[in-house]
């Protein structure tokens, strides 16, 4: 389905999703336009990661209602790899370790897959090596991570950087960063934020899932949403994050009349 407004990148309408037989997402609405940065905040267990995984098509989650339009296209029946190739990227809250698979080989395969999809040039191992080392410099990452197995034995912060490195390589249209800030010390946070800001443009968009205001000091959101019990219950400008920081979530919790999830 083609929407009239081509500036809209993601449109989530009344999204419901289950894990096993428990409903986790209970009618979530969200619209993201190109060039926008959105922050989703909310207590542990409110369903933020679930939302990210449902967007990306994780097989453990079953969508039971609503719709997801990405770039005007209904993606709910697409396999996760097809969604990824369409330009949807998820930086995981807990990146999984893959013993035995060298990071550089993994990165190159991912890169070339996406390049092929876009009808662009694929890189051989030597060309890719140069390319990836440049990207790593921007994130202040040691090239030694190329030879190691994917995420194996990486510290929490190193895993997060490896996620952002992948984002930098794949240049997605929409990136969802799930608590990329947790586990990063302040210097690392600055570096990662700098990397993310460089990638942000008028054509793509970003959803930051976070607990803390701190990340938003470095990556300035256009909208801040608060999630509770599987829905977005409040949406506002970036000042909302500061209020949450000052007063906690209690002061909005329960007041469902303010729930909207759709930007004014």
């Amino acid at each position: 389905m083609i929407r009239a407004d081509s500036s809209i990148l993601l449109e989530v309408h009344d999204l419901h999703a289950n894990v096993e037989d428990t409903e986790i997402l209970k009618g979530l609405n969200l619209t993201v336009k190109r060039g926008e940065i959105h922050a989703i905040m909310g207590l542990n267990g409110s369903g933020k990661s679930t939302f990210a995984k449902v967007l990306a098509g994780h097989p453990a989650y079953r969508m039971t209602g609503g719709e997801i339009l990405f770039n005007g296209m209904d993606i709910t029946s697409l396999a996760p790899e097809e969604r990824a190739r369409a330009g949807l990227f998820l930086a995981f809250q807990y990146p999984v370790e893959i013993p035995g698979v060298a990071n550089d080989q993994f990165l190159r395969l991912a890169y070339n897959t996406v390049q092929r999809q876009r009808g662009k040039e694929e890189l051989d191992p030597l060309e890719f090596d140069d390319f990836v080392r440049e990207k790593m410099k921007l994130l202040d990452m040691n090239p030694g991570f190329l030879d190691r197995s994917v995420n194996e034995g990486f510290s929490g912060g190193e895993k997060k950087r490896n996620e952002i490195l992948q984002m930098a390589l794949l240049e997605p249209m929409l990136a969802v960063l799930d608590e990329t800030d947790s586990g990063l010390d302040i210097d690392a946070l600055r570096i990662v934020a700098k990397g993310v800001n460089q990638l942000a443009s008028q054509d793509n968009a970003l959803i930051l899932v976070t607990h803390y205001q701190r990340l938003l000091d470095y990556i300035e959101p256009d909208y801040v949403h608060v999630m509770e019990a599987g829905r977005i219950i409040k949406t506002s400008g970036k000042e909302l994050a500061l209020e949450l920081e000052a007063h906690g979530y209690d002061w909005i919790s329960g007041d469902k009349t303010r729930a909207s999830g759709v930007q004014p």
Binding site: P80, A84, Q166
Partner: protein, 478 residues
């Protein structure tokens, strides 16, 4: 014996060649008379007949081993025919006559064109009017004094060598299946590398496959004299079908002082269908004797086929400073069962052995590693390092490790490591989120898992083996 198995064991007769060449096929069943008949059909010398008969008498007093972790209906050895005249395969006139399914597999494996033709049974000279590869190959070897021929030829042309070495590593009464093989073996390969000769190329059974069928009881003997070295490749990645269900081969390797034998196998016999119907029962005895000082025996195997695999390529490290190696990848899918591993028997001082075993199980299959490391009282300062890793794909398969360690010398050192892992949904999702589909993901994970073993394979073999594994596991995830 179940009706189904009886049916399978009897399959060669379905094609009706029995009636056509009645006189060249032994009646079913095993007796001294059958053995005398096999031996006389092959014009064998008396000492070889005696070897067969002794094995047979021992076999009569043995029972089939039952300790392995595999299950199958009892085999009726009287329902098998133990001799049929070597028949050349029917040659096809062009590639167009080849089963398209087989061609698709070759395509996926990346088997070179001329090999595809040969493997599919197309007369190679029809398509490639060059001098036969096999002939050039033989001439080159003869120049340096290497003997590489069928076992039957060797019995006639080099009887003194066969007599000297046959049964010295795997004696006629070694175990149930080896005894059976010793009694009734039909053909196989013989390879002799004389003193000081480094074999200039990898020796491959591929060059012998299509000359005749080796039959279900294959016998291989490889001897490397002082300072000689050879790398021998058995099998090929292309699928092999056979109407005989039971295969019981014996391979013997002998390495004298400073000799080096590297034996690589890629086994892809018919594994049965996805419901576990059919498939080869592969009961193999492979053993190398590192007889001389500083000698080395190295086994590398990639086992992907057969319904049942029972196989323990072993090293007897008798010479001082001798080295034994075993690198193995065993893949099972659907209802396949594999019980495989090695034995490292350290006799000489300063002997060293390395075991690297990678078991991969998918579907409803079962994969077991079974290994023995024995340090005898004379094995001063001997060392072993073993690493046994298993990987599971899905929830219905099983992986087991049975390490046996016997140390009778205090200065000997044995190290054993084991791990079990699983390709998880979250790993596959991680790949998928980066645009990589499940098949590519599994192939990447598996290749990483098997890296240490694949590194031991000759280059082209390694590339084919990588593709073979992906093909074997196709559809086992997602």
């Amino acid at each position: 014996m179940s009706v189904a198995l009886q049916h399978l064991v009897n399959q060669p007769y379905k094609h009706g060649f029995v009636t056509k060449i009645e006189s060249d096929t032994a009646p079913k069943g095993l007796s001294e008379d059958t053995i005398r008949m096999v031996s006389s059909k092959k014009n064998e010398p008396a000492w070889l007949l005696d070897f067969r008969l002794e094995a047979y008498r021992r076999w009569l007093n043995m029972t089939a081993p039952a300790w392995q972790n595999v299950h199958y209906p009892e085999i009726d050895f009287q329902a098998i025919s133990y001799y049929s005249a070597p028949k050349s395969k029917k040659k096809l006139a062009s590639m167009d006559e080849v089963d398209p399914e087989l061609l698709r597999t070759f395509e996926k494996l990346g088997v070179p064109m001329h090999e595809r033709a040969a493997l599919a049974g197309v007369a190679v000279d029809v398509i490639f009017d060059s001098v036969s590869v096999a002939t050039t190959y033989k001439e080159k070897l003869a120049e340096v004094g290497i003997i590489f021929c069928s076992f039957s030829e060797a019995v006639h042309n080099h009887p003194e060598l066969i007599k000297q070495y046959l049964g010295t590593v795997v004696p006629p009464g070694d175990n149930f299946y080896a005894a059976l093989n010793s009694a009734v073996f039909t053909d196989g390969s013989f390879c002799f590398i004389p003193k000081g000769v480094k074999c200039p190329m990898d020796l491959s059974t591929y060059f012998r496959i299509n000359t005749e069928e080796s039959g279900q009881f294959e016998r291989t003997l490889i001897v490397a004299e002082e300072g000689a070295s050879v790398s021998y490749l058995e099998g090929c990645t292309a699928p092999r079908f056979d109407t005989n269900q039971l295969h019981a081969a014996v391979v013997e390797l002998v390495a004298l002082d400073n000799a080096d034998i590297k034996y690589s196998t890629v086994q892809n016999w018919y594994a049965g269908d996805e419901n576990g119907i059919g498939g080869i029962y592969n009961f193999v005895t492979k053993r190398g004797l590192a007889r001389g000082r500083n000698s080395r025996i190295s086994w590398t195997q990639v086992e992907t086929g057969s319904a049942i695999t029972w196989k323990y390529p072993s090293c007897i490290l008798r010479g001082e400073n001798s080295v034994g190696e075993f690198y193995s990848v065993a893949v099972t899918n659907n209802y396949q069962q594999a019980d495989t591993g090695t034995k490292m028997v350290h006799i000489g001082a300063n002997t060293r052995s390395t075991i690297v075993s990678k078991g991969i199980a998918a579907g409803h299959s079962n994969s077991s590693y079974r290994g023995l490391v024995r340090m005898t009282p004379t094995a001063t300062n001997a060392r072993n390092y073993s690493q046994c890793d298993s990987m599971l794909i899905g929830n219905k398969c099983g992986a087991h490790t049975f390490p046996y360690i016997q140390v009778k010398n205090n200065s000997a050192h044995v190290e054993h490591e084991a791990s079990t892992s699983k390709i998880g949904e979250d790993q596959l999702f991680y790949f998928a989120q980066r645009g990589i589909d499940a098949e590519e993901a599994v192939s990447m994970i598996i290749n990483g898992f098997c890296k240490e073993v694949f590194q031991q394979l000759p280059m082209e073999f390694a590339v084919e083996a990588t593709k073979l594994l992906s093909l074997k596991l196709e559809g086992s995830v997602g």
